[in-house]
C-alpha cells in the first residue's frame, strides 16, 4: 500500500561514539546516516555494437544512457548490473569484467560500471526506457547522452577495446 510521506524535522547533531554531525529527527530521534549510494551498470556488447537506452523517466528523460541504476540490498554489484539490464532493456547479460569506478561527490554517488555482453540477441524497451538500440561507434548520439559518466564510460572503453587486461578507470582528469 502506498502512503503519503511528510517531511521530518531534522537537526544536526553528533551521535554518541560518532565523529561526524548527522541529521537527527526531532520527533523520533532517528539518526539519518547518509552514505554514498551505489549505481551499477554496464556497457553491453553484441556483434561489435553497444546497447543504449533512451530514458522514459526523469532526470534527463528522452536522453540516451547505459543500462544502470541503484543497487539494492541483498544483491552483489554484478547481480545489480544484470538486474538493471533486465529491467531497462529486457536483456539477459553476462558480466565480463569491471570497466570503471566513478565517484560523483556532488550527489554522493559511486558508479560501478562493468563490461558485459548479451547472453542472447534479444532486447526491448522496459518500463523505464522509451527505446533500446545497439549502436556502432559512429552511430553514438554524443549530443543526446544523458549523463557525463556515460560519455566517460564509452570513451574509456573505446580506448581499451580488444584489450583483455587493463586497470579499471576512475573519473577522467579534468
Amino acid at each position: 500500500m502506498a502512503i503519503k510521506t511528510q517531511t521530518p524535522d531534522f537537526r544536526r547533531e553528533t551521535p554518541e561514539g560518532d565523529s561526524h554531525e548527522r541529521d537527527v529527527c526531532t520527533a523520533c530521534g532517528f539518526v539519518n546516516y547518509v552514505n554514498p549510494k551505489i549505481v551499477t551498470g554496464s556497457i553491453v556488447r553484441h556483434d561489435g555494437r553497444i546497447m543504449l537506452c533512451r530514458r522514459a523517466i526523469e532526470p534527463r528523460i528522452g536522453f540516451w544512457t547505459l543500462p544502470a541504476g541503484f543497487m539494492e540490498v541483498g544483491e552483489t554489484t554484478e547481480e545489480a548490473a544484470m538486474r538493471e539490464a533486465r529491467e531497462e532493456a529486457n536483456a539477459a547479460i553476462v558480466i565480463d569484467r569491471l570497466l570503471a569506478v566513478y565517484t560523483i561527490p556532488r550527489i554522493a554517488q559511486v558508479q560501478i560500471m562493468y563490461l558485459a555482453h548479451l547472453a542472447e540477441p534479444s532486447f526491448s524497451a522496459g518500463p523505464e526506457s522509451l527505446e533500446v538500440m545497439m549502436v556502432g561507434w559512429n552511430e553514438i548520439p554524443w549530443e543526446e547522452i544523458a549523463f557525463p559518466s556515460v560519455t566517460w564510460a564509452l570513451e574509456q572503453y573505446r580506448s581499451v577495446e580488444g584489450v583483455a587486461d587493463f586497470a579499471p578507470f576512475s573519473n577522467p582528469q579534468e
Copy 2:
C-alpha cells in the same frame, strides 16, 4: 553535542512511485531507504612489505586488518581510502590502482579495495588501531586476520604481484 537516540517505530510500506517495500516511520512518515554501504581500503606497500593494522575497536578487536572503513559523503572512493590510512595508521598513501570490488550481501556492504604505497616511510597506530606493522608474505598472521575479505585481498594481490595490467577481482568463487 551528543544526544541519546531512541528507536523509531517503523512499518513496511511501498512509497508512491517505488517498486520496493521500505521502512516508514509511523511517527513522522520518514522513508528509510536502506542502500548498500561502501567500505574503501587499500593494500599499502613499502619495500616489498604490506601494512596491517590491529583493530582497537569492535568488531574483531585485536585482529589484523587492512586500513579501510566506511566512505563518507563528499569524498571520492580514492580520497576515502587515503583518509582511512591516515586515520588508522597516520600514513600518507598514494593510490596506484583498483585491486578488487567485493560484495558482502548479508551485511549489504560493497568493499572497494585499492593498491597503494606509502608516500613517505612513516606510520603509527591511529585511535582505531592497537598497532600497525609492515609485513612480508611470510609474516602475515593468517590465523589472526579480522575479516574474510582481508584474506581475499591479500591472496588475490599475491597472485598478480608485479603485474601492472590485470582485471580487478571480485568475491572469490566458493
